[in-house]
Structure formats: structure tokens, C-alpha cells
């Protein structure tokens, strides 16, 4: 058990070490200036010396991301449930998704900033929610539609109403699809919340900090905030994986009787 777990952990650690070592070596040997590429050691020292600031900024952005993720997911689920009554073939989902993906949602931020109070978090949560909505909507709609024809025939043979079929067959069928959507949406929500900060408003988030550090030529610090953003996104992703493990039955979890 431990062995297999370690077996999974070693390769990425090795790759990361080689990557960071090579990076450090490159910066030192080539004598690169920090505005071009700061050394990992510089980023690390900025990261640890500004830990409290990092934590605070990450907490602010993560809160925006979390609120956006929750509301976007709820909206995505509702639209998917509505759509599944009208979209009956999977072929219709893909072009719809592609069409929606080309809408420059992040560019809505300044408009939303004007519509709502710019000093509040609301416009950022809203942008994050809209961005989260799409992967949830597309994946859940797929899951609700992509039901085996034989299973549908079975439901009909049992005289099931469309509502019962939704509850008994379509929704359970959509759950793995829902998690696929969430795994895309969760890190995306952090990116959206962060980028939305570039358009003005409260300045305590990761996006604002990265922008101001870069403007002040504090490149090491800017990169340290980027690192904090990556870690935040990763935590969101891992939280979804944990939730998925909790909710869906795994083959290994089922005990065998003799």
C-alpha cells in the first residue's frame, strides 16, 4: 500500500527537482536578470518572507473563486436540467459549447464593474460564475443525454414517466460527467477570480498583488504570488478529487463476500 503510493509520488518529485535545478543553473550560469527570469531561490525566499501577505491575498482570491464556483455550478446544473428537455442528441451540445466558449467573458468585467459596486466582490464573483457555468453545463447535459438506449427502453417497459427516468436514470448517469466538469471548473474559477482583479476594484487579491509587484519591478515577489496562485488552484482541484472519492463508489471500496 505504502509502496504503491510512494511509487506514484516519486516520478513527479524527480521531474520537479530536475526542472527547478536546471532552472536555477540556467539563471546562475547565464546571469539572467530577474525581470527576464528570476531564480527559483529568489522566488522561494520572497515566498517565505512574505508568507502572511501571500496567505491573505490567496485567501481573498480563493473566497471569490469559491463563491463563483458554487453559484456557477448551481446555475450550470439548472441550465443543464432545462436543456436536457430540449436537447435530445449529443451532437447539439458540442457546437453550443464551442460557440459559448468564444464569448470573451473576462472582457465583461469592466462592464460588470460599472453595473455593480466596483468596491465590492460581486462583479468578480459574477464573472467567475459565468466562466464556471459552461464546463458544468456542457458536461452535465452530456451525462443527462448520453444514456444507453437499452436502459431507456427498460424504463419505458416499466412505464416510467420522464420525471422518474430523470431521477432514476439520467441524474445518476450524469454524476461522473458532473465531476469531470467540476475538475475543469475548479482551477478555472481561481484563474477567473484572479484575472478579474486586473480590471480595478479592491486590491488585496493575488491578481492585484501580481500586477503591483510587477509594476514595482519586484519580479521575485510577482512570481512568488504566481506560485501562491498555482497552489490555490491545485488545492481547489484536489478538493474536488476528494469530493469525488467521497461521493462515487469505487470498485476497490466494495468489500467482497465469500
Amino acid at each position: 500500500m505504502m509502496n504503491t503510493k510512494l511509487g506514484h509520488v516519486w516520478p513527479p518529485i524527480l521531474v520537479a527537482t530536475l526542472f527547478l535545478g536546471g532552472w536555477q543553473l540556467l539563471v546562475v550560469v547565464q546571469d539572467l536578470k530577474p525581470f527576464l527570469l528570476p531564480a527559483p531561490s529568489l522566488i522561494a525566499s520572497e515566498f517565505s518572507s512574505g508568507a502572511a501577505m501571500m496567505w491573505g491575498a490567496a485567501y481573498y482570491t480563493a473566497t471569490t473563486a469559491f463563491l463563483g464556483l458554487i453559484s456557477g455550478t448551481v446555475l450550470g446544473l439548472i441550465t443543464a436540467l432545462l436543456a436536457q428537455r430540449f436537447i435530445t442528441v449529443d451532437k447539439l451540445v458540442a457546437p453550443l459549447a464551442a460557440g459559448l466558449a468564444t464569448v470573451p467573458i473576462i472582457a465583461l468585467t469592466p462592464i460588470l464593474n460599472n453595473m455593480f459596486n466596483i468596491t465590492s466582490r460581486t462583479p468578480r464573483v459574477l464573472v467567475t460564475a459565468i466562466i464556471v457555468l459552461f464546463p458544468i453545463f456542457v458536461n452535465v447535459t452530456r451525462g443527462l443525454i448520453q444514456v444507453h438506449a437499452t436502459q431507456l427502453e427498460l424504463m419505458r417497459s416499466l412505464n416510467a414517466t420522464p420525471r422518474t427516468t430523470l431521477r432514476v436514470l439520467r441524474i445518476p448517469n450524469a454524476i461522473p460527467f458532473f465531476f469531470t466538469g467540476l475538475k475543469i471548473a475548479a482551477p478555472l474559477s481561481v484563474i477567473a477570480a484572479l484575472v478579474a482583479e486586473y480590471f480595478g476594484g479592491p486590491q488585496q487579491g493575488l491578481g492585484s498583488r501580481i500586477a503591483s509587484a510587477a509594476a514595482n519591478t519586484a519580479y521575485g515577489r510577482a512570481w512568488a504570488y504566481v506560485l501562491a496562485a498555482i497552489i490555490t488552484g491545485l488545492i481547489f482541484y484536489l478538493a474536488i478529487i476528494a469530493l469525488e472519492r467521497l461521493v462515487t463508489p469505487r470498485k476497490a471500496q466494495v468489500s467482497t463476500t465469500t
Binding site: H148, T150, Q151, E153, L154, R156, S157, L158, N159, A160, T164, V168, L169, P172, N173, I175, P249, K251, V254, T256, T257, T258
Partner: protein, 278 residues
């Protein structure tokens, strides 16, 4: 009780089909006459098999009986009712080639699905599913998930599910098609046992001549383009036992079914299923 005794004791009509026609994509260039002027009567408690080359309309006929698809002309009566009423009253259970189990439900809860939809209370459901699990000999797998079961076991769960509300009619569309020959023969014996215990009327679709002969009281031979019934062969094998499959009578029946299939200009390549060429 032998199947023939059941027949003579219980002469009620389970299924009465006359002049049935079914056309797919009518008026389009890809129009297909799936069924044409089909007549078929099945007594209560009778076991009939539908056999014929691929595309001759066996599944379509089963779907029409089960009101899973409509038909264009003729009349269909299931226990004296229209297919739609029969379906709404849950007068039949159906098993398909794929087990079509729900992965997110345990074996027990898969079997209980029809009971849930029919509004049974939990204690009654549990009692009934335990009974059915015992019948298909899967009691120890009650709380397993479908993916942990072999193909044959999954098919047994699907059959148990089709029997759940105790419908008088069982529709089976190649339920053993994906199984190896040994498992298949065992499943055939289990099905005959269930049939003996429950006295159900069974309409069974298969590609295997020996399977049709071994299971049925009557083999109904179909031919394609347009799909119609070309022969009906009575099988009077009495009680099935170890030696039945090797008896002369069995081979004579197999031969007459094969000849009936050949007689209608179809090469019948699809019926060369495992065991078909003994």
C-alpha cells in the same frame, strides 16, 4: 409438470397477433418494411422462440409486443389488451442482449427497480428481491455492484429484474447471445427451471437453432425483406434432461428448423452460432 401439460391445462391466449405490419421511415428513400403480415398466437404458459437471419425483424416484433415501438397495421393483443395497456399494467418483463444494469445500484437494488417504480414498499421489495436472488442463485452477491459480476451473472440479474413484478409474459431478446457455450447451456437450464416454477409465457429471440429447439414448445422461423413468419415447428421434447441435447428427436427438430430457415432463400449465415453445427 411438463410444458405440454401446462399448455393443455391453460389454453388462454397470452398473445394474439394478426396481419401485423411495421414500416420504418415510411415514404423516405431508406424505407424498410421490418414486419409484413405477421400472424402469431401464443398460449398462456407456452415457450416460443423467434429465429431468423439478422434483420428479419425479431427485435422489432418483440418491441411491438412490448409497446416500445408502434406498428402500422394489423392487430396485437397481449392478454387480450392493447400493447400500451399491457405495458402500463406491467403485464410483461423484458430482458435484452445487454444486461442494461445500472452501475450505481447494487445487484439487489437493480432487481428492485421495477418494484420501486410500481410503488412497492421497502420491506416487500426486500423480501421479493431476496426471493429472486435465491432463484437465480446470486444471494451472496446481493450487495455487489454489477461491474463485479461476470457476463453470465449480470444476465441472471437482468432476468431476475424482468421477473420482479411477477408479470405473466416474459420477452427475451437474445439474452444469452454474449455468453460462452458452457455458460449458455447452464443458463438455458436455469431458464427452463424458472419457467417450470413460474409458469410464465415466454417469447425468446435467438440466433442459435439448438438453443431454440432445446428451450421451446414451438420455434417460429422468420425471413427478411420483408420480415415475416415462414414456418412454425412444434418441438415435443417433454422434460429436458442431460441426454435431451443428444437425442435423435432433438436432432430431427434441429434439422427441420434448419431446413425451414434454408427454404426461404436465405443463406442464414447468422445462425451458425456456437453449437449450431454439431
Amino acid at each position: 409438470m411438463t410444458p405440454t401439460q401446462l399448455d393443455s391445462k391453460n389454453p388462454g391466449s397470452a398473445l394474439a397477433i394478426s396481419g401485423l405490419s411495421k414500416v420504418f421511415n415510411a415514404g423516405n428513400p431508406n424505407e424498410v418494411t421490418a414486419l409484413s403480415d405477421v400472424h402469431l398466437d401464443v398460449h398462456t404458459g407456452e415457450f416460443i422462440s423467434l429465429i431468423g437471419p439478422s434483420g428479419c425483424g425479431k427485435s422489432t416484433l418483440l418491441r411491438v409486443i412490448g409497446d416500445l415501438t408502434g406498428f402500422d397495421s394489423g392487430s396485437v393483443q397481449v392478454s387480450g389488451k392493447s400493447p400500451q395497456d399491457a405495458r402500463k399494467e406491467r403485464l410483461y418483463g423484458i430482458a435484452f442482449q445487454q444486461a442494461a444494469l445500472f452501475d450505481w445500484r447494487t445487484v439487489t437494488r437493480n432487481i428492485e427497480l421495477p418494484l420501486e417504480l410500481a410503488g412497492w414498499q421497502r420491506p416487500q421489495r426486500q423480501e421479493r428481491s431476496a426471493e429472486l436472488l435465491d432463484m437465480v442463485q446470486l444471494s451472496e452477491f446481493a450487495h455487489h455492484r454489477p461491474w463485479e459480476l461476470s457476463g453470465g451473472m449480470q444476465q441472471r440479474v437482468a432476468i431476475a429484474r424482468s421477473l420482479a413484478v411477477d408479470p405473466p409474459l416474459l420477452l427475451m431478446d437474445e439474452p444469452f447471445g454474449a455468453l460462452d457455450e458452457m455458460t449458455r447451456e447452464r443458463m438455458q437450464n436455469e431458464l427452463l427451471k424458472i419457467r417450470m416454477e413460474t409458469g410464465k409465457t415466454i417469447v425468446f429471440v435467438t440466433h442459435s437453432i439448438p438453443e431454440a429447439v432445446y428451450l421451446s414448445d414451438r420455434v417460429v422461423v422468420m425471413s427478411p425483406r420483408p420480415g415475416r413468419i415462414t414456418a412454425e415447428i412444434d418441438v415435443d421434447l417433454g422434460d429436458r434432461e442431460e441426454m435431451t441435447r443428444e437425442s435423435d428427436h432433438f436432432f430431427r427438430c434441429v434439422t427441420s428448423v434448419r431446413e425451414a430457415l434454408r427454404a426461404h432463400g436465405t443463406s442464414n449465415s447468422t445462425s451458425s452460432s456456437p453449437g449450431g453445427e454439431i
